[in-house]
């Protein structure tokens, strides 16, 4: 019990004093996971929309790959990315292993199937005739897709939350491809693991609380946008 109280006390002090080290870790977390989420949206929404709207040979197979990707363990993705970026690996010449760039790559691979899968489901749950109705109103192909995504905006925001939630809380891949290097690749989750293994529970608790606050604030914002558009 004393551990917990001490931890909470120190966490409070760290947050109050806006501890530089802690804030650096937090901002790197946001930078890496934010970028990864953004890239995942750019890749996942078009793919999910395509899968949701088009019929083609092999669609089920591609959809099953996306669905599998939604549940892929981050450590496996971390391992694969590490091998690719390893000095002697296929992408070794990039020299980005143990950098934030490597972490972003790994997190994109974790998040984009989630975004694609949720987008596909969001588009498919719309009345198939809605597409014809939008075409009948005079929409070109591009305008039709835009309006379909606008119709699916509530579940699409869920896709963003799922993608961001997965990468901000992920630890295995970040540890493997980032290396948890102080001031360079240490993010909140890897720092919590590191402090925990050193027995430095108070810092671990402080970081945990900060992580929860960030996740809460981001989702609060997205929920606000989502529910506001519901009432439109």
């Amino acid at each position: 019990m004393g551990l917990l109280v001490d931890g909470l006390k120190q966490a409070f002090l760290l947050l109050i004093h806006w501890d530089r080290q802690t804030m650096k870790i937090a901002s790197l977390s946001l930078l890496v996971s934010g970028s990864a989420t953004l890239i995942s949206l750019l890749l996942g929404i078009p793919l999910g929309t395509f899968l949701g709207l088009k019929h083609f040979r092999g669609k089920r197979f591609v959809a099953s790959l996306v669905n599998t990707g939604m549940g892929a363990p981050p450590v496996v993705i971390g391992l694969v990315v590490t091998i690719f970026l390893w000095r002697s690996g296929p992408l070794g010449i990039l020299h980005i292993l143990y950098t934030p760039a490597a972490m972003i790559i790994a997190q994109v691979i974790i998040a984009f199937p989630l975004v694609a899968g949720f987008t596909m489901a969001a588009v498919q749950q719309l009345d198939p005739k809605l597409r014809l109705q939008i075409m009948a109103l005079g929409a070109s192909q591009t305008q039709m897709i835009w309006l379909i995504l606008r119709e699916a905006r509530l579940p699409l925001l869920a896709a963003i939350m799922a993608g961001f939630g997965a990468v901000i809380s992920e630890v295995g891949a970040s540890m493997m491809v980032g290396g948890n290097i102080t001031n360079q690749t240490r993010v909140m989750t890897t720092a919590i693991v590191g402090e925990d293994s050193k027995g430095n529970f108070s810092l671990a608790i402080a970081l945990s609380i900060l992580l929860m606050i960030i996740v809460y604030l981001v989702n609060l914002l997205l929920t606000w946008v989502q529910q506001r558009s519901r009432n439109a």
Binding site: L130, L132, Q133, A136, L137, L147
Partner: protein
Amino acid sequence: MTNRSVVTTNVSASNLTNVYGGRTVLDIPSLEVKSGEVMAVIGPNGSGKTTLLFDLALLTTPATGTISYSNVPVKTGYQALQVRRRTATVFQEPLLLAASVYENVMQGLKLRHVADNEAKQRTLKWLDRFGVSALVKRAPRTLSGGEAKRVSLARAFALEPEVLFLDEPFTALDSPTRQTLLEDFDSVLRETKITTVIVTHDRNEALVIAQRVAVLINGKLHQLGTPQQVFNYPVDEEVAEFVEAGNILPGTVMVQDRGLALIKTDKKEIEAVSNLPAGTGVIVCLRYEDVTLMLPGQSSGITSARNRFIGKVVKTFPLGAQVRVTVDAGFPVVSLITLRSWEEMGLAAGSEVVVTFKASSIHLIQHK
């Protein structure tokens, strides 16, 4: 107010086929919707009505064939989009977007690059015309079925289309809502003179609205004519069955005498006005309301009705103000009589009645 002259556009299809899963679901060698006419497409479920409508509206691509607007064949891609922007389609469901009623009606106008001021004017005008201008700010999910349908009709008319397509627009509505909306819709159609194709399975709808009726069965066009022609003189058994031409009996012409044919059916002989020669196989069509019932005691005296049979009531079935009476007169015959006649005659299963009908009220279909 916009007061543009009516642009006349006809729509035609030639060699049109649609194939689903290897099965041909639509096969129309040729069909023309004349400019300014209202054509109803009727037929049983799964007969290809909606497929035909979507092909004509350039919303789906047929397996083969050409769709022409104003006698110009429409190519796919950008040209199809340009032509589609001269049409409007109303679906069975209102299919409103998740935006306000006002924005819903504005959406199509925006997509067609109609100037903002005119778009606003048209939106308000047509919402008002369909009696839903009070709902402009409402979200579609808060509307009743009838209100949503009115908004979807306003949305279509605001586009001021040259051709209007409707896919069973009134089906999902309750009866009173449907009746008032049908009246509003009919008066708007008469005003605007837009070339219109309406898919329906309700023959009253077709009778009220359409100048011509196309009967589609199993993907094939069986008959195309005025509502009177189609409903009174179906060209074949399938059409007769679908339009409920009434009593249907197979038979053969035995004697032909100066335009009066004596037809032998399974058990009885029936006289009908027809020039078909003896030996012709026919289907006898007799509308329920053309069959008169009398009690045996009252039926003395000569009538002009050529056909007269004694029978027994098998069952009676009230249908609002009318009663459907099935009689066994050696062959099954159904008569539709008023509720009052039914009460006065005291008809019930087992009652003896005299069945009469005129030779001229029979429509004969030559049997293939």
